[in-house]
């Protein structure tokens, strides 16, 4: 549980920490598209340079970022090998039945690998430097246009922020219940898979029932304190757009321009 890096916040006061969550999220989403603009060697280098630039700006150790990649490493390696083994074209180095290791295969694999990893690094940089509450505020803002389609944006974001708020409680509660069942002789993580699954019942049932109760209590409390879903909501935390946020967006635009120029010139 402690290994999960996604959705973790690392406190700090780096330039990236201080950016408006809206700017960071827009930039992060834009980067996903930008990574597909890298079509040649120079573009690839630019992609990596920008990624390491952002990572070092966060002032968080690179080890933390590498840990973020680890859960996805098998997926990445799988796609990379698929590319290497089944793409033909260019110089062919090795053939064995349908399997061909070719120049194009290796190059494609390199691009796919780079896209995967840089996207993960940059989005991790966004989530590591943004408080969960800021993320939901930012998301609320970005989803605003959906209101015209009658999507209940405010309700969705309050649901999200309440869920995020209760994750630490849920982890504590899990630990407490596990301790209590261990004290009654339960053993976890031993025996056959079936036995291991069965051993989880005494944890999950109390956890579910506790969460349901808590949810109901919370709903009642919100009712009593006058929460109405249909009224417009104001926010205690006001997001303010500053010059550095505009700079952040400009940097992203510059990056897009650079890739466009690279692609034009090289072709």
């Amino acid at each position: 549980m402690n290994k999960l890096i996604l959705g973790r916040y690392f406190p700090g006061d780096s330039p990236i920490h201080k950016l408006d969550p809206r700017a960071k999220m827009i930039a992060g989403i834009a980067f996903i598209f930008i990574s597909f603009m890298a079509k040649n060697g120079q573009g690839l280098i630019l992609l990596w340079l920008f990624t390491f630039f952002v990572m070092s700006l966060t002032k968080i150790g690179f080890r933390v970022f590498f840990r973020g990649v680890r859960p996805l490493i098998w997926l990445i390696l799988f796609t990379v090998f698929l590319q290497i083994l089944f793409t033909a074209g260019g110089i062919i180095y090795f053939t064995w039945g349908p399997i061909k290791i070719s120049e194009f295969g290796l190059i494609n694999a390199l691009f796919i690998f780079s896209r995967f990893v840089t996207i993960i690094f940059v989005t991790t940089a966004v989530t590591l430097t943004t408080k969960p509450m800021e993320l939901t505020d930012g998301l609320n803002f970005l989803m605003r246009p959906l209101r015209f389609l009658h999507v209940p944006v405010d309700e969705l974001s309050i649901m999200l922020s309440i869920s995020l708020r209760f994750i630490p409680n849920l982890l504590d509660e899990t630990q407490r219940i596990m301790d209590a069942q261990k004290a009654r002789g339960a053993v976890f993580g031993e025996g056959s898979l079936f036995r291991q699954m069965k051993a989880l019942v005494p944890i999950f049932l109390p956890l579910f029932s506790g969460s349901l109760n808590r949810g109901e209590e919370l709903a009642n409390v919100m009712d009593v304190r006058g929460y109405r879903s249909e009224l417009p909501r104001s926010s205690f935390r006001q997001l303010t757009w500053k010059i550095k946020d505009t700079v952040c967006i400009l940097v992203i635009l510059l990056l897009i321009a650079a890739f466009a120029v690279l692609n034009l010139v090289i072709d």
């Binding site: 219940i177 301790d179 209590a180 004290a183 009654r184 002789g185 005494p202 109390p206």
Partner: protein, 285 residues
């Protein structure tokens, strides 16, 4: 069952971060068959102390000994399970550990884990549910349909059904009504007296500590600062002040009485009964 702690230090690991020491060089010996109250301000490490005894929190340095099983940072899972068989542990708000379809299954969970036969577990369930003052008919109900107080009793019955030699109780009566509280406490006292069960009770309620416990352990900031008889603890107002412990009402009355009347009662009174006797004794002279 003899319990010993030798210079135990412990902390909680939160990912790569360690919490500050929650237990620091704690050495303690609890004799078999005693009733010990563990008191102290919130965050002093009382619950953590119980977790060490139960092998849920392993010492970073030093060791604990339960009977002839030694607990340190390298103790095997199997040895820990043996320790847990001997120490029944009732956590703060134990009702949150209920999970089974019926009360009977829930009470049998512990005994079955520790190797009792299904028949034995069934008999134990019936015996224990009566002991905690509930009706046998409740055994077939869902634990989730019970009231808070009933749930608490079922959870306690589940722990007692392990037939432990030591029970460690973490504020077992918090949030119960006064009569339920007295009932449960006298149950623990009775087990302590008749079955020579060692009882370790964490409590914030000095009345309970004074009435039921023989010994007291006072904890403050992860250290044991007092271990001795309850009576000598409550005799020493200066110590009580230092650790911000309440004085039981009878004792408070006694102190006020002695100041106003100038008469000293022959002994330290911890309960109303003792106080009444002492006062009658003084009146006769």
């Amino acid at each position: 069952m003899q319990i010993r702690l030798n210079q135990v230090s412990a902390d909680y690991q939160l990912g790569p971060v360690h919490s500050p020491r929650v237990l620091q060089d704690v050495s303690l010996q609890i004799a078999p068959g005693t009733f010990t109250a563990v008191v102290g301000p919130t965050g002093a490490g009382k619950s953590s102390l119980l977790k060490v005894l139960n092998g849920l929190l392993l010492p970073k340095s030093g060791w604990a000994e339960v009977g002839d099983i030694k607990i340190d940072s390298k103790t095997s899972k199997k040895a820990l399970k043996a320790v847990r068989k001997h120490i029944g542990m009732v956590f703060q708000f134990p009702e949150s550990q209920l999970f089974a379809e019926t009360v009977e299954q829930d009470i049998s969970f512990g005994p079955l884990n520790f190797g009792a036969s299904p028949e034995a577990a069934h008999d134990l369930a019936i015996k224990m549910i009566r002991q905690v003052g509930l009706d046998e008919s409740i055994l077939q109900q869902s634990p989730f349909s019970l009231s808070g107080g009933q749930k608490r009793r079922v959870a306690i019955a589940g722990v007692l059904a392990q037939e432990p030699e030591v029970i460690a109780l973490d504020e077992p009566t918090a949030g119960l009504d006064p009569s339920g509280k007295a009932e449960l406490m006298s149950l623990f006292k009775q087990w302590n007296k008749c079955k020579r069960l060692t009882v370790i009770l964490v409590t914030h309620d000095m009345e309970t500590a004074a009435r039921y416990a023989d010994d007291a352990v006072v904890m403050d900031q992860g250290k044991v600062v007092y271990h001795g008889s309850v009576r000598s603890l409550f005799a020493d107002s200066e110590k009580l002040n230092r650790w911000q412990l309440d004085v039981p009402e009878a004792r408070r009355f006694q102190l006020a009485f002695e100041t106003y009347s100038g008469i000293r009662l022959p002994n330290v009174c911890l309960t109303e009964e003792e106080l009444a006797e002492a006062l009658i004794g003084v009146g006769r002279v």
